[in-house]
């Protein structure tokens, strides 16, 4: 199979249904390497389904997903993608593991069973801990951390796998505002300085218009895909969300808008 180096993700005619009910219909888009894509849309509009299809967790009922030219289910395609799920950082609070154990688990897909931890594994884990500024927390259990610190541990887990694409399904549940801001700064830095391709599901429209290079709007089917400035206007958002949109200003000076 030919590997197209310029394209990070290709999705074509993508459909998926749960028990006969269509969750996603005929979605197609292309994401180039180094892009920062924000996925927006109403709850239940198929955002998480799309993410699971991109990750190869779900098999599409029709259509295809390619990661760097390879099918999403291909093992090498999986190793290219780092994933931070929606609720894991809050649900994992009771899981008895240290931050280092969590971050090390990001290397598991790259390692053979029974293999010893290599120097590269150790280096990648240390680097991820330092990048997310949690090296001093590495021996703490995740249950003893704040929501924001736990979130950083799970992002470090994804980073430790040395992915070329980072997919985040709005992992902000139970995370305070300043931690969210630090997390978004990290994403922007990873994208701009290291060329990491990012797919980020969010409701934070103001942030999208400021940081993302492209936006994808979903409401069971593809409503828009393009530059944020073209679509993130109030009348368009009203049509997308199907109701009156409330833009909520944050308290700090550079105010974000949430829908």
């Amino acid at each position: 199979m030919q590997v197209n180096s310029g394209l990070a993700i290709e999705a074509g005619n993508l459909s998926y249904g749960y028990g006969g009910v269509s969750a996603l219909k005929d979605v197609g888009f292309v994401l180039r390497e180094g892009e920062y894509l924000a996925v927006i849309g109403p709850n239940g509009g198929g955002k998480t389904t799309l993410i699971k299809l991109l990750l190869g967790i779900l098999e599409p009922t029709s259509g295809f997903v390619r990661i760097h030219g390879r099918p999403a289910s291909d093992r090498r395609a999986r190793l290219d993608v780092g994933y931070v799920p929606q609720r894991v950082s809050s649900e994992a609070a009771e899981f008895p593991a240290t931050v280092r154990e969590i971050v090390e688990s990001g290397r598991t897909p790259r390692r053979r069973a029974f293999s010893r931890r290599s120097a590269a594994d150790r280096e990648a884990v240390d680097h991820a801990l330092e990048t997310l500024e949690i090296a001093d927390l590495s021996d703490r259990t995740i249950g003893s951390l704040s929501g924001g610190q736990r979130q950083r541990a799970f992002i470090a887990r994804a980073v430790a796998g040395e992915p070329r694409i980072l997919i985040l399904d709005e992992p902000t549940v139970g995370v305070d505002h300043s931690a969210q801001e630090a997390f978004r700064q990290f994403l922007t830095h990873a994208n701009r300085e290291h060329g990491m391709t990012i797919v980020f599901v969010t409701h934070d429209v103001e942030f999208v218009s400021r940081e993302a290079t492209s936006v994808l709007c979903l409401n069971h089917s593809l409503v828009c895909h393009g530059r944020p400035g073209e679509y993130l206007k109030e009348d368009f958002l009203v049509r997308l969300y199907g109701r009156e949109v409330k833009l909520v200003e944050h308290e700090h000076h550079d105010g974000h808008g949430h829908v």
């Binding site: 028990g19 699971k52 990750l55 190869g56 967790i57 093992r75 999986r78 190793l79 993608v81 994933y83 799920p85 894991v88 649900e91 994992a92 899981f95 008895p96 593991a97 240290t98 280092r100 154990e101 969590i102 090390e104 688990s105 598991t108 897909p109 390692r111 069973a113 029974f114 021996d139 259990t141 249950g143 003893s144 887990r157 796998g161």
Partner: protein
């Protein structure tokens, strides 16, 4: 208990066999139980224990090795449980309740059909350390070593699947395969533990040392090792106490484990 009483045990072959089998089970039970507890599947252990009992009853009724019956029944149930878990609309743990009651009903019917097997079945229900034969010890050691080897080899994968199935899947791990393997290993561990603590208490030995160890707020590997150590301690103390005070071994072992858990509750960090 005096030193003489303790060493007296080693003069009897049947007690040494019982101790070796008990210590093997002591390591085995929390090694698997750790994964069940963090996945909130502790009830799975009780379900598989009742299924094993039906296998034992079948073995006694149709004259084949009861432990083989227990192993076969629990492996079949492991496959059924995983299939039901994946099927939507089965209300999660309710399917376990269904399998637990169903297999217990089957066991009761088989006991009724062959009234004379009551006494033998009793030893699998409540455990009977002193009647563990040479062959039983061999089977427990060989299969126990197999279970531990699989856990050791797949430790990182079991950890990731237990932490979050979607994270495992997104990394290309065959989470369903690991789930099935873990349920099958649970069934095997339970079948091997029946003669030691009995079907009614095996779940306790898998879960209680893990709960006690997790009170100390440590990482996964350390909690796992401490759980195994606490389980071995419970079995040793319970074994010697039951001998010295002429108590039922299974109940005494689990009783000691519960006391350790209470101590951990009082003195643990969390």
């Amino acid at each position: 208990m005096t030193d003489t009483a303790m060493f007296e045990i080693f003069r009897y072959d049947f007690l040494v066999r019982g101790l070796v089998a008990s210590l093997t089970v002591a390591v085995l039970a929390p090694s698997i139980g750790m994964f069940l507890v963090v996945r909130r599947q502790a009830f799975l252990a009780d379900t598989l224990a009742h299924v094993s009992l039906a296998g034992v009853a079948a073995g006694l009724l149709f004259s084949f090795n009861p432990v083989a019956g227990a192993i076969g029944a629990s492996l079949l149930a492991a496959i059924l449980i995983e299939k039901l878990r994946l099927k939507q609309g089965f209300f999660g743990e309710s399917s376990l309740s269904l399998i637990l009651s169903g297999s217990l009903a089957l066991a009761v019917i088989m006991i009724g059909l062959a009234r004379s097997l009551g006494a033998s079945l009793f030893s699998y229900l409540f455990g009977s350390v002193t009647t563990v034969g040479r062959f039983d010890v061999g089977v427990i050691l060989a299969l126990g070593a197999t279970v531990l080897t699989v856990v050791f080899v797949g430790y990182r994968q079991f950890f990731l699947v237990s932490l979050d199935e979607e994270l495992a899947l997104s990394g290309g791990l065959r989470a369903q395969g690991f789930n099935l393997l873990l349920t099958a290993l649970s069934g095997l561990t339970i079948a091997l533990s029946l003669r030691i603590v009995g079907a009614l208490l095996v779940g306790a030995l898998m879960v209680i040392p893990v709960l006690a160890a997790s009170r100390f707020g440590m990482g996964f590997r350390r909690t796992h090792l401490l759980a195994a150590a606490l389980s071995v301690f419970s079995v040793l103390i319970g074994f010697f106490l039951s001998y010295a005070l002429d108590l039922a071994a299974g109940g005494t072992i689990v009783g000691v484990a519960i006391l350790i858990f209470l101590a951990a509750l009082l003195f643990g960090r969390r």
